[in-house]
């Protein structure tokens, strides 16, 4: 029908990462001069889809058609040659160069002998387009986040792409900045560029998008016009309500809850009162954690979940508010201090924040508890070895030999070894970030089991992660954050994947326990 072929077509593209399907035969087409919005929950496959389109990830199967020609995009460089430019969420700008220098980075306009020329009119035009015309000579490091975002867009636009992919461009922006960005996007589109706009913020879509594609479980499940009511979109994102299906886990959870009721009102093991982040990631968060409880904390990427959890683990000092563990106040100095007060921390991003690559399995397990075992600094070899054996067995770490490097283990076993490291400090509360990321099914089961054991012996767990189904299954209760504010405290009876999803988007979770706040501290752009 249309004369010009669509700029990008994906047909039944599939991609798995170590057995987990990220893209499940996804199909999507983006027409010329169109702004297609892509929405979906965490883990729906949006990032993988972007990565396939920009050449960072190679699909396992499927067809990619760019401008009417079937092709494969083997590298980011090739994507740019094909006319696909991407602005990633954490844009790659060089802070100690000026805006103009960043704009032409890698494509410097040079005279003979490599002498740099003045920036060309075209490159300045790109800056003009995003409204940074007068900032060409400013260093990136003095620019605001919004300006950097605009600069990254200008840089992508100056490649003169036919398709511009924007990954969560408004995640860090204020309402006014967002409004301006939407205008800029409109200008870019008028200049003849198609857009793929990935976002969590459904409110912007009506202004920005021509069409909204909803992803779930690795495929596009629906396409809707921009005027679609937000509620309907959230329903599509959440999918059918999935009730916790792991009967055994649910059973254990129920029994724990009964136990708690039986013992009457147990003393809270962890109390947070009006905790507020230094950088404004969250504010006035208060809650209590009972012994035997698994508390989920969920929210969209800009909700402040990560920051809150880091604060609980002692890795981030709050600006105000108090956190008490069994009546003792946490000073928020370091994870070491938190560990002494009884908080174990299983940090997310195992490779960068968990594993120490030059350590053996045994050393990994012993690291956090060394100071409680040593005598004037001397490591009692036998005791440490015995503890290690006990914990490795308890956590079912499948390591032939505790003296092998921990990095030689599979992801799941590494994670279990890290869990063992946490348990070695005999924590009252374990704070874990996405503990089952990149862990196989068997490994997940043992981690769930460890969590249950901990709770049955009177401990408690704070659990975050992107897998809402898992949270609905594992947790007894869940806190939902929305742009830094605690908006819901979901009890066991109302805890399912769908409710969590809706609550993340702050969609009427009509329950008695929901916290409603009128005076929202951050800007309203709803």
């Amino acid at each position: 029908m249309t004369a010009a072929p669509p700029v990008l077509v994906l047909e039944e593209v599939a991609k798995s990462f170590s057995g987990v399907r990220a893209l499940n035969d996804v199909s999507l087409r983006i027409e010329r001069n169109e702004c297609c919005a892509l929405v979906g929950a965490n883990g729906a496959g949006k990032s993988t889809l972007i990565n396939v389109a920009c050449g960072a990830v190679q699909p396992d199967s499927g067809v990619l058609i760019v401008g009417g020609e079937e092709t494969s995009i083997r590298s980011p460089h090739m994507a740019i040659d094909l006319g696909i430019a991407t602005v990633h969420q954490h844009n790659q700008l060089v802070p100690n160069l000026t805006a103009a220098e960043n704009l032409s980075l890698g494509r410097e306009n040079t005279k003979a002998a490599g002498l740099l020329r003045k920036p060309t009119a075209e490159s300045l035009a790109a800056l003009e387009l995003v409204g940074l015309g007068d900032r060409a000579d400013d260093l990136v490091e003095v620019m605001t986040l919004a300006e950097r975002q605009l600069l990254a867009i200008a840089r992508a636009v100056s490649l003169q792409p036919r398709l511009l992919i924007l990954d969560e461009p408004t995640a860090a922006l204020t309402p006014n900045e967002t409004r301006y960005l939407v205008e800029v996007i409109e200008r870019v589109r008028k200049a003849g560029t198609s857009l793929l706009y990935v976002t969590h913020r459904l409110q912007e879509l009506e202004e920005v998008a021509d069409r909204i594609a909803v992803m779930r479980d690795g495929r596009v499940v629906a396409e809707r016009p921009p005027e679609t009511p937000e509620a309907e979109l959230v329903e599509l994102i959440a999918g059918k309500g999935i009730v916790a299906h792991d009967e055994e886990l649910v059973d254990r959870r129920r029994r724990r809850a009964l136990d708690r009721r039986g013992t009457g009102s147990a003393e809270a093991i962890l109390v947070a009162r009006e905790v507020t982040d230094r950088e404004g990631a969250f504010s006035d968060v208060s809650f209590e954690l009972q012994p035997g409880e698994v508390l989920g904390v969920v929210g969209l990427p800009d909700a402040g979940v990560v920051q809150l959890v880091e604060t609980l683990a002692g890795a981030r000092r709050p600006a105000k508010g108090t956190i008490e563990v069994a009546g003792v106040r946490l000073r928020g100095r370091s994870p070491r201090e938190a560990a002494r007060r009884g908080i174990g921390y299983l940090a997310g991003d195992r490779a960068r924040r968990g594993v120490i690559p030059n350590a053996s399995v045994a050393e990994t397990v012993a690291l956090s508890s060394l100071s409680r075992m040593t005598r004037i600094g001397f490591i009692p070899g036998r005791r440490v070895a015995a503890q290690g054996e006990r914990l490795l067995a308890q956590c079912q770490v499948n390591a032939a030999d505790p003296s092998v490097p921990v990095v030689a283990l599979s992801g799941g076993n590494q994670q279990k070894a890290l869990f063992a490291r946490v348990l070695a400090t005999e924590p009252r509360v374990v704070v874990c970030e996405d503990p089952t990321a990149g862990v196989d099914v068997a490994g997940r089961e043992s981690i769930y089991g460890l969590v249950s054991e901990l709770c049955e012996s009177g401990g408690a767990v704070v659990w975050t992660g992107s897998d809402l189904r898992e949270i609905a299954t594992v947790c007894d209760r869940a806190l939902v954050l929305w742009r830094g504010t605690l908006v819901a405290d979901l009890q066991r009876e109302e805890l399912d994947e769908r409710t969590l999803m809706l609550a993340q988007f702050r969609r009427n979770v009509t329950t008695s326990q929901s916290v409603t706040r009128q005076d929202h501290p951050r800007g309203e752009y709803v």
Partner: protein, 338 residues
């Protein structure tokens, strides 16, 4: 690492083929970078023994030992600092200052006390480096380079009439005396190395040092007191540099402000030859001691064979590049295997 390797694994029913702890241990030794250095040392020594009849004599070996002692001690100190991902370029200045301080003090007190005080001063300087770097967050290269400059200045001011010759003959005893056939210098160095080895292997400090070098962020999140650990590493680095300084000073019987400049470069050469990684948290006392011995034997060989002494620098420079290239190749092979 070594504590647990003797014990049987708790996973009795692991389907993977298992070959006894002895085999694993031997294999571990065979693939360690230290083994490669040891082979190089062995080949060098055998070559020298064949090439020169004077090499394998008691007198000459004692000489090699004396020449290498201070270097080996200095290497142990450098190792601690490199393991926490830092670098200490002030050791040249620390050596000079320690030598001058010891020599000056020895004029009015027993040499032993003078030595002790000099080492104390050196440790204090290491501590200061550590404070500026670990707590102040300053760049290790810049801080220690500046510190080294300043210290040489202080040492020069403390010895206005040039190198201080110590009149007390007991000052040189540390270097001249022998216990049986072994020079006291060698004994002192061995004691230092054993101490360093124990600190790194049997004490929580050592574990913490390795973990900070391996992944500082992860170590901090796991409850390692990363800043005090780095601070201590610099202090220990300063202490060993001070000990190296008094060993050198005792050998020459004098205190000279610029005594440390060449040996600092040799120490870095030796640790890299000995398999220490820069910012990887890898390296052992055994490795750096072997690295120091390799340099010692090369220096001695060049003397014995009557080759122009300046060749030593070229050879050791070449060896460093060879050593890190081999490490790189081994790493690539390991990754391809995995």
């Amino acid at each position: 690492m070594s504590e647990l390797s003797n014990n049987r694994s708790p996973m009795a029913a692991v389907p993977r083929r298992q070959r006894g702890p002895v085999f694993r241990r031997l294999r571990g030794v065979a693939v360690a970078p230290e083994s490669a250095v040891f082979v190089v040392l062995l080949l060098l020594s055998v070559g020298m023994a064949i090439g020169s009849p004077n090499f394998a004599t008691e007198f000459n070996l004692q000489n090699v030992g004396r020449q290498t002692s201070a270097l080996a001690v200095l290497c142990a100190g450098v190792l601690f600092v490199l393991l926490v991902g830092g670098i200490d370029l002030s050791i040249a200045g620390v050596i000079g200052l320690a030598a001058v301080v010891a020599a000056r003090l020895a004029q009015s007190m027993p040499p032993t006390e003078a030595f002790l005080l000099a080492v104390l001063v050196a440790t204090g300087i290491g501590l200061l480096n550590g404070l500026l770097i670990a707590l102040g967050g300053l760049s290790p290269i810049v801080v220690t380079l500046a510190m080294g400059q300043a210290l040489i200045g202080v040492a020069l001011l403390l010895s206005p009439n040039g190198p201080i010759q110590v009149s007390n003959p007991a000052y040189g005893d540390l270097a001249a005396a022998k216990i049986g056939p072994v020079p006291t210098l060698v004994v002192a160095a061995v004691v230092c190395l054993v101490l360093a080895h124990l600190l790194l292997r049997r004490f929580s400090l050592g574990r913490y040092i390795y973990s900070v070098g391996g992944n500082e962020k992860a170590a901090w999140l796991a409850g390692v007191p990363t800043r005090p650990v780095k601070l201590t590493a610099y202090a220990i680095g300063g202490m060993f540099a001070g000990i190296a300084g008094i060993l050198l000073s005792s050998r020459t019987g004098s205190g000279e402000a610029t005594q440390g400049t060449t040996i600092m470069l040799e120490a870095y050469a030796a640790v890299f030859i000995g398999g220490v990684g820069f910012g990887t948290g890898r390296g052992t006392v055994v490795g750096v001691a072997l690295g120091a011995l390799v340099l010692g034997v090369i220096g001695n060989g060049i003397d014995l064979l009557g080759i122009d002494g300046n060749w030593q620098y070229i050879v050791s420079g070449g060896l460093i590049i060879l050593a890190i290239s081999l490490a790189r190749v081994a790493e690539t092979l390991k990754r391809r295997h995995a």
